[in-house]
């Protein structure tokens, strides 16, 4: 029971973390992403830091879950965060998600649910 709760908390936090990261890094051009300055600026970026914190907490929860569950069972369930990420990125980051992209996201999620089911 504890393992299942930890697993889902980890999954939701993991999805939210990705959107926080994207909010922090934005769209870099090549001169930015190859400069040390840009990378250093990420270390003091609040969005990136909140991603880091979410990531650490999600990882700790993941370890708790994984100690009790088969990795080939627990890992696929993370796929549900694809849908969370799509919705949150659309609302929060105003990402334009074309219908082929929605379709791909749903197919991928379906595939991972199939993997997840015993």
């Amino acid at each position: 029971m504890t393992a299942i709760v930890a697993l889902w908390a980890s999954i939701i936090l993991n999805g939210l973390a990705q959107v926080l990261l994207k909010k922090g890094v934005g769209h870099s051009n090549d001169s930015q992403s190859t400069s040390a300055q840009w990378w250093m600026s990420l270390l003091t970026n609040g969005w990136v830091l909140s991603w880091g914190i979410s990531f650490v907490v999600a990882t700790a929860l993941w370890l708790i879950a994984l100690s009790k569950l088969d990795i080939s069972y627990a890992f696929p369930l993370l796929s549900t965060s694809f849908i969370f990420v799509a919705i949150i990125s659309r609302v929060f980051l105003k990402e334009v998600i074309s219908w082929p992209r929605w379709a791909s996201i749903l197919v991928i999620t379906l595939g991972v649910i199939l993997i997840a089911e015993k």
Partner: protein, 155 residues
């Protein structure tokens, strides 16, 4: 499937670069895709290594409090090594995220599930039922669809 077509086909600049053999332009775009693939591979290796470490620790940690259990887990060499590899994958991931929509790039990490499921089978003798094989196939179809759906992003 990830390493090919390193150029944004939706932009005029992408089309120009597709016609150019200039190595600078090509390598610049390929790095994003190497980063996606690299972060997926490293994350899968990291997860499998963490699981191997946890398998080693689980008998000693079975009857202690949660916090103590976490400390035992974090002292396992394989868990630490796995986390280190995962960390390297994360740096690649940050780079890749800054180049693409998160709603485009994040679902591609589903390839992790395929790799880790296969790893679970080969390394830990975990049984993969037919349904799970079907899921692996569907994920691969979905990731391929995502590639052809395009990476065009709002800037």
């Amino acid at each position: 499937m990830i390493t090919r077509a390193p150029i944004d086909p939706g932009s005029a600049a992408g089309m120009l670069q597709a016609a150019q053999p200039a190595s600078a332009a090509i390598s610049r775009f390929q790095w994003c895709d190497v980063a996606i693939l690299g972060s997926v591979l490293l994350a899968a290796c990291g997860h499998l290594m963490i699981k191997a470490g946890l398998n080693a620790a689980i008998s000693t940690a079975a009857h202690v409090l949660l916090l103590e259990r976490l400390l035992i887990y974090f002292r396992q060499p394989l868990v630490l090594l796995g986390l280190g590899i995962y960390g390297l994958g994360t740096v690649m991931w940050v780079f890749a995220v800054s180049k693409h929509d998160i709603s485009y790039i994040f679902p591609i990490t589903a390839l992790n599930y395929v790799l880790v499921t296969l790893g679970g089978m080969f390394l830990f003798a975990e049984v993969i039922p037919a349904k799970r094989w079907l899921g692996i196939f569907v994920v691969i179809v979905g990731v391929t669809m995502m590639q052809s759906a395009g990476r065009k992003s709002k800037r």
